[in-house]
Symmetry: C3
Amino acid sequence: MTDLRQLTDIDVLDRAGALALLDRADALHGHATARAPALDRLAGRTVVNLFFENSTRTRTSFSLAARRLGAEVIDFNAHTSSTAKGESLVDTWRTLDAMGCHAYVIRHGSDDAVAELAKVAGPEVAIVNAGSGASAHPTQALLDAMTIRHHKGDWSGLRVLIVGDIRHSRVARSNIKLLRLLGVGELRTAAPPSLRAADLSDPDIVHFDALGPALEGCDVVMTLRLQKERMQGANIPDGEHYFRQWGLTPERLALAKPDAIVMHPGPMNRGTEIDGAVADGPQSVILEQVGNGVAIRMAVLETVLGAA
Amino acid sequence: MTDLRQLTDIDVLDRAGALALLDRADALHGHATARAPALDRLAGRTVVNLFFENSTRTRTSFSLAARRLGAEVIDFNAHTSSTAKGESLVDTWRTLDAMGCHAYVIRHGSDDAVAELAKVAGPEVAIVNAGSGASAHPTQALLDAMTIRHHKGDWSGLRVLIVGDIRHSRVARSNIKLLRLLGVGELRTAAPPSLRAADLSDPDIVHFDALGPALEGCDVVMTLRLQKERMQGANIPDGEHYFRQWGLTPERLALAKPDAIVMHPGPMNRGTEIDGAVADGPQSVILEQVGNGVAIRMAVLETVLGAA
Amino acid sequence: MTDLRQLTDIDVLDRAGALALLDRADALHGHATARAPALDRLAGRTVVNLFFENSTRTRTSFSLAARRLGAEVIDFNAHTSSTAKGESLVDTWRTLDAMGCHAYVIRHGSDDAVAELAKVAGPEVAIVNAGSGASAHPTQALLDAMTIRHHKGDWSGLRVLIVGDIRHSRVARSNIKLLRLLGVGELRTAAPPSLRAADLSDPDIVHFDALGPALEGCDVVMTLRLQKERMQGANIPDGEHYFRQWGLTPERLALAKPDAIVMHPGPMNRGTEIDGAVADGPQSVILEQVGNGVAIRMAVLETVLGAA
């Protein structure tokens, strides 16, 4: 994997490459969560957070990952920047490159912006997709896989369910790609009709129109955030209504395997897509996901900067 | 004091604990104001500024304090963060904790948010209140006490006046608690009726309805910022009008003791609560307060992180 | 130049001083663009970015310059700060000074704010103008001169053209001052009548009302950004219309000397003031300007902090 320079989506990885990133993140976990000292493998390198959508959480995770490898971090707030003055993403990147920056962590509202920049910038430029449109969020998928692997051994025996707003979810799309690549046994999705994704109706994904049957026999339950601004368009009157049909409650979770783990990419809407008792319960690995996120981002930054 | 982990308000301190923080801040003063080199006592620790109200001034003071002890600083802008997406303060803290952050400096508009988080997070989690609602601003009170002690020796002989918008002032409330704890001789407040605080009408606080008589014989005059947005509600037509009755002018200041010191928590409204000639005059210790603020915050961070 | 503490505009430099900064920036270029390791000449110093206008690009350039000299950087966002609460620039500076900050990089919408602060603060306080109103942007002029000198030797033989919105341009004003100081052979400006600057109609500046004739025989073509918000006031219907008359196209550029260089302070409006083919063409030195900008800002910070 030492030749990976651009993590635009899961597609750029082969199975060995994905597993190598998971292995490396495992090794870095203590440093990522500050139980072990920071490293200096990226000393002298400058990592730019180039965020066109607000996300303090993901930005902070990348910042900590970069700093715990010894890199400098520049937060280039794209809302108040020259991009807001009409400059293209490519010109913004060229400017930062001319200033001696080394890696670009990009979040963008458009599906294709990150991949397009990667093409123009050329294959030697280190680029990490930190979430683009509804299409890709590869580091989220990797941290999810790292978390699953820690709790469940063999991929081929696993039944994984993704629940909620599949339609608008880059988390779902990248997870599905990675879980297939890793060879997961059975992939399930569950969503109300208006939140189902037409592009994810392949025969190898088993789709459910109700949460109860979908949960039966699952090893992993991945709950997606319901974005409030999308509820109206989806004809869902409010969060309470959604919770009654789709909220992950302790009663519903009991339909899954007894040792099933519960995941959520955060930030959670307690009482909308997930019951607080489940979020804080013994099957929840939600906070482990957060710590694994820093470790995965360290592994990815190290790799795209050729320091792995 | 090495067991203090949460400075939610002055109440958590006993007299010895408060004096220990003042002593430690005195010892750190050169490092705080960059006349002496930065220290590395907090190397490897990450301090998060979690500000739900804008305050570049206080945030910068905490940032410098943390960095001059060798800590990393994360600015978690709560306005544009996951909290804005509906996440609770507790969930935001849990996320940052899972990322390996070590101390939380919190400013919040609500009176109770910081104390409530401290309760949920548990007594081992390092939390510093950087200003909450109208109730508490303990590091401001400590830096004020540090400044007073530097100029005036014995607490029991001192007459201290707090002037202005007492009603909405967390600075006044924390100062009153700390000055009582330290055993100040006489505590006075002075405010127009609409800005007087019902909760601070204890018999041991002498209240005045006019500034002149309140100033007589005072050793310390603490002027509060008049927040413009509150002037209308308080039936104060404008800043000029307020200044005529309540502005600290050289003529009025002459009613206090000749060696009285003048304090202000900043930012000042010159010509509203204070005359520029007083703010810049020989009795003003306002800029000393600012330098002492960094020293106090170093002492507090060191202590709550168990590095004192 | 070791006694320069305040770079408020080019006026404060003499010719030797300007050349010393260019020489020093040349020497620092590898460190500025991260091809050589960071330095520690400013270790223990704190540089404040005090920006009253948004400019992520210039702020990032100064941040990288300061950090690559080992300084700490504080971003004091003046939009959300105590200044927004009515505090004066002088009081904000006094506060930061009391916190032990060492140099102030200031961008301000007013022509005079930076110079006025420099006067009040006193000649020992390190202040750098990062752009003030329409009057001054001295580090831009220095990086432009550094770029020109790299490509063209002798100043006296050069013909330099500045094209576009001269009237509102601090870049134009500082460049004209510096190019005169360096003894440039011929200075030309070209602009539509509404964007011509009355204060720059000296006999030694040759003004043109059309781009074609202005370009003839030029060694350097400096294109200015057309600020969209000014197009209406200037009776310019839209960017396309402006481009037809004033856009720097390959055809027009062919009227200049064959080895003429093309400059732009960024961010560019491709298709408005400059053709993408020119911006990316072999005569463009626009990205060199960006790298030189970090080097110039390192040289300036080193100098105003007495570390040169």
